[in-house]
Symmetry: T
Subunit: 68 residues, 12 copies
């Protein structure tokens, strides 16, 4: 297996559904302009509260993609 190099970006995804869904949104957003996404790491988990309930999740992930 050859050795690869990776570049990292940081993206915040939002979701009114769940923590998991906010992570998937972040990955999907990054995939719109970048290829070869390889891994993610959760950096920060926040969210907005409205009417005393969790309105939506905002999860920041670091994403690594392979440099060709």
């Amino acid at each position: 297996m050859p050795e690869h190099s990776y570049k990292h970006i940081e993206v915040t995804g939002s979701s009114s559904k769940s923590f998991d869904d906010a992570v998937k949104t972040a990955v999907a957003k990054a995939a719109m302009t970048l290829h070869n996404l390889h891994w993610f790491e959760v950096i920060e988990t926040r969210g907005h509260i409205e009417g005393n309930e969790v309105k939506h999740w905002q999860v920041t992930v670091k994403i690594g993609f392979r440099l060709d």
Copy 2:
């Protein structure tokens, strides 16, 4: 849009169901005595194990509420 000031508190919510539910419990508990809750940030995710299974989640969130 006017500039607001916020105070932060730290609350641990518990749930036998899920990580997401423990966050919602923490927000609901804070909402019982405070108004204008605005955002949360997950600080720590722990839990108890009984019979070798996750018994309940204990998630600590920092919650910001708007000062009137």
Copy 3:
């Protein structure tokens, strides 16, 4: 209630389903060789991406078990 001592280990569990399931996998793996598991704390939440989607979650937990 007597005072107990605990030892900690660190385990990474994987799951293609969800964040919560990866934590449960880590606890289940630790339970195969250790008794008296008592608590866990999430240390790191990562995952692999394939075809621009979250392929599986990899969650590292610190687990404390009671020393007899």
Copy 4:
């Protein structure tokens, strides 16, 4: 000099003018409901951008006040 005890709170102050002014706003807000404020420590310095310019500063300070 006797020994004192202190309680800490965390407040975010905003200002469209400057970093320094946002800190002063946070202290002024805390002073509206608490006495004996003694010291502060800057925890986080953020702000909002509108029209590609810094619109206002949002500085979070930990404030210690003496317990009587």
Copy 5:
């Protein structure tokens, strides 16, 4: 055993006697206005020096108390 929620506060206790005593002072101060104190965690250990000797200890603890 039911699941509980906790709120956390941060208090600095002082003592001219010892590190341990400064922690106990912080807990005693918190107990004057709050019920159901459950656990503490030491956050910071500082102190004042006078005449080239440790004059008093100032230990900051985070204290969790159960929400009814």
Copy 6:
């Protein structure tokens, strides 16, 4: 209000005038090539010294911009 996603970049701005001005320089530099800048967070505050005086401030900010 719909849920947005954000990408983060990290920029160091310099100024011989002040801390505040170095932050504004960083934001202005980022605005030359990116739209929809939304917030910033100060990551590091450094500076150069010449002739025993602060010659210029170098402040690193993380900037979030909305993904369309």
Copy 7:
């Protein structure tokens, strides 16, 4: 003096007496199953509160032991 290699473990010791005693308990527990303990480092200092008093200290130490 030859160069040694070390393995680290993490243990929480408890004591109703003092911080120092909880550290000694952790070391004594580790010594029941391991040889060649060489150093410790305090990682976390917590404790339980009952009746508004410190009931017992729980100190987590990392312990290094020499690999033969």
Copy 8:
């Protein structure tokens, strides 16, 4: 000397030879698409193990480049 602004990126370089070589690989990869690279800082040093030996080093560096 005029004041410059910098943008930072994060790149992981790999090498089967050495730690130093993995850093150089990361810089070389970044240089393929960016000009005016100015400094680097090592953020994380990891690697893969195969057959119980270090197979290759993976070093993540933050790289700053001057904005024109």
Copy 9:
């Protein structure tokens, strides 16, 4: 350009005027006994409160000076 070595010191400067002025005070104090001061980094920003207003700023900086 030759390669230099640097030693670092940590100094707290105070000012009743502003954050910026407290940094300049710290640098001026260090310059009274050391030559070749080269850079600074802000480590901690605190201050005292009197009469519910910011009385003075206390900013701790790490300062690097070139070894001859």
Copy 10:
């Protein structure tokens, strides 16, 4: 590719030759009692000085191995 679980251990390796060699020593030591070592991460880089020269390097690595 199936999903794997991993356990982590922490080992300090020493070498009078180089940083790289101390990492390899740590991996070799761990390999004497464990199978399926998969990755390492450098946690701490220290060393001893004798006669004003670096006598040996002591590098602590976290090592992950696959649970069968």
Copy 11:
């Protein structure tokens, strides 16, 4: 009360007796060459183990002293 500037140093004190005594040793050592010691902060608490018992405590403190 005038505004003061402080310089910080870092000292490790040892004691076979207790944690508290190791801190006092560090302060006493610093006082042998410096005047106007004002405060300390505990940075790291370690110790050596011999014969499976705590042989001595090694506590590192940051000490601030007033610049005249």
Copy 12:
């Protein structure tokens, strides 16, 4: 073995050759004015880039020396 006290300093060493060599440079520089150097710990690993290549390494080490 008697108990010793140590003072710590922080030095940045540079080298165009390697990471290891920059550490040795830092130790050698410290040894020019101090005796009884005992250990070092790597705090930060940076470097300059010129012509898209690593020009020189700049490694900051904390060095402990025994107080007589």
